[in-house]
């Protein structure tokens, strides 16, 4: 398993190329965000924004920053609620195998097939009655429906891989189910928790349909609605739209890289401890 440094660098180069390929459309988005209207459909297209403009960014920095804050709050709330709901459920389905468990997994699968727009219409009716339209908790609750079924299924799949001996050992030590869950299952499942959190965050970050239906009229609008400042009824300002997307993805991308650091550190730390 020993590899020479030269070979490792070769892998880094391949990794860079692969990442570059995957991110090329993102580069294009950045390119467009700097492009003047008259160059947007140049034929042949310009690979670099040679006569660039900062108009898009000017518009975004003037108008979009509050939306970013809302998106962050909604994303964090969605992550917290999703993990809190789904982790115990995943544990129960994977390790306690209750009667009706498979039926429940099945319902979770079906739940994800309901079209988003129908879900949003249902929520609208419920929220109107409860009076939580245009509130942050309302939007967070709705956004968790994007992630909870997924999260339960993922937790189930990952937690079923936890060796039974580990759990039995905890029981022998006199721990109850709750203690076992809290101090054995959760720490071992750090990887899947991070995976689930990541997706819960990303989904709420890019959600448009719930935001538009349930928070469109309020003071708490996420960044996806902010983009619609540049989509008029007849006309779209594409450099500003793309600039919004760029500005919105930078903080989130930083977060991803940091989370990533944490995961790999956690994994190695866990391996050493074992």
């Amino acid at each position: 398993m020993t590899t020479s440094p030269r070979r490792v660098w070769w892998k880094t180069v391949v990794g860079l190329v692969l990442t570059g390929l995957m991110l090329f459309p993102v580069y294009w988005m950045i390119n467009v965000s700097f492009t003047r209207d008259q160059d947007m459909r140049a034929d042949p297209p310009h690979l670099f924004p040679t006569d660039g403009t900062l108009d898009g960014y000017r518009a975004v920095l003037d108008q979009q920053l509050p939306y970013l804050g809302t998106s962050f709050l909604v994303g964090l709330g969605t992550v917290a609620l999703t993990v809190a709901l789904a982790a115990p459920a995943g544990y129960a389905l994977a390790k306690l195998r209750p009667p009706g468990g498979p039926a429940l997994s099945f319902l979770l699968l079906i739940a994800q097939m309901i079209p988003g727009i129908i879900m949003a219409m249902g929520f609208y009716a419920i929220y109107l009655t409860l009076g939580v339209l245009n509130t942050l908790p309302g939007l967070i609750l709705a956004d968790t429906t994007l992630a909870v079924p997924f999260a339960v299924l993922i937790f189930t799949a990952f937690m079923s891989g936890i060796p039974d001996e580990l759990l039995q050992a905890a029981v022998v030590d006199g721990a109850g189910r709750l203690r076992t869950f809290w101090s054995v299952v959760l720490p071992v499942s750090r990887n899947s928790i991070v995976t689930v959190s990541l997706f819960a965050f990303l989904w709420s970050w890019s959600d448009f349909i719930f935001a538009s239906t349930l928070a469109g009229g309020g003071d708490h609008q996420p960044i996806t609605l902010g983009i619609y400042h540049y989509i008029g009824n007849n006309n779209q300002q594409w450099n500003a739209i793309m600039a919004t997307a760029v500005v919105a993805s930078i903080p989130a991308a930083v977060l991803l890289v940091l989370a990533q650091r944490y995961v790999s550190m956690g994994v190695t730390a866990g391996a050493v401890k074992d």
Binding site: R41, P99, A103, L107, L128, T129, G131, T213, G232, N233
Partner: protein, 414 residues
Amino acid sequence: MTGLNRRRRLAAVAVIALAAVTAGACSSSSGDSDGGGGGAYLVWDPYPQFADDSDWVALLKKCGTSAGVTVERTGYDTTDLTNKALLAAQQGNSPDVLIVDNPVISTLAEAGALTTTEENKLDVSSMAPNLLGAGQSGGKTYGVPIGANTLALYYNKDLLTAAGVDPASVTDWTSLTSALTKVKAKGKKGITFSAIGTEEGSFQFLPWFWGSGAQLTSLDSPQAVSALTLWKDWLKQGLAPNSVINNTQTTSWQEFASGNFAFAENGTWQLANAEKLGFSYGTIAIPASAGGPAPAPTGGEFVSIPVQKKTDRYATSQKLVTCLTNADNLLTTDTTLSYVAPVTAVQDRQATENPKLKVWVEAVRAAKGRTGDNLGTKYPKISEPLWTAVQAALSGGKSPQEALTAAQASATSK
């Protein structure tokens, strides 16, 4: 094992039964919220591009103050607004004033979501009849136009001069096609438009369709076929790019702005952007097949007053709408939107203040409503087959005749 299976099945049944009970509980407790409440009046518009510090919002606030109420305004994406308005009407949560794209008015009226001018006492007598038509059905009027737009041909003066084409000579389809051919011979591109598979595509095709003498009640007439053949031949001869099949009006404007196209079919709303072009431009009316200007469809939004449970709110809503649509305010609003006003007197003022608007005022006066001719909610059932036919012919699947015959069959079967 079987026992376990039965228990599982029982649990599943229990879950489903509980689901049904909860669903029933949710649907029966319909909302009794007060739709805004107190002195606040809700206004929804399709202008998300206007932020809270814009002139438009300032105008709304001002009208609210003069009516003695506060205005709470929300701007929605235009396609999203139709669904949202229907949903709100279903839940009894409609805004007090709703501004929507004109073809949507007949749909919302059909749904019983809008009040008529008899109920809300709006005065629409000053509005131009050809614009008001889109808001009328069954002899009733459901809203007031706030501004109108339509389509014309923008041209690139520099390119036409280089190709030796006098824009004034473009008066019918033959002269237009020959102008395009001359431009192409110079290595530039002819014309760009939007033939996308949505209402936008029908909107852009209609001037040619109507300009051929065709009627929406008969999509497969020889005239209609000639209009579609015109477009198809342009694509075949390379006078128009293949990308038009997927172009929105914004995309086709970006193509024109690149300076490579001699003509672009686009709307009144691009006037502000036209001033930013890197070349000099002009506008002509879209020519009819046999010459003269073709009737173009009217675009633009209507202000309406949705049905409320508390009918005493209409009086204030009426004051708000009257304020928004009085002559001075129309002038301001339509200038910011780059629209033509719906009132003849205001149109004249616009034309004197900005001579470039003169072409557009004339175009709007000659334009036709899409849902007019008593089509109302039949229009969407005609428009979808129409844009489908345009797409089928342009993407090469079918001949114009085949495509339009299929469209007519589909429109009559619905």
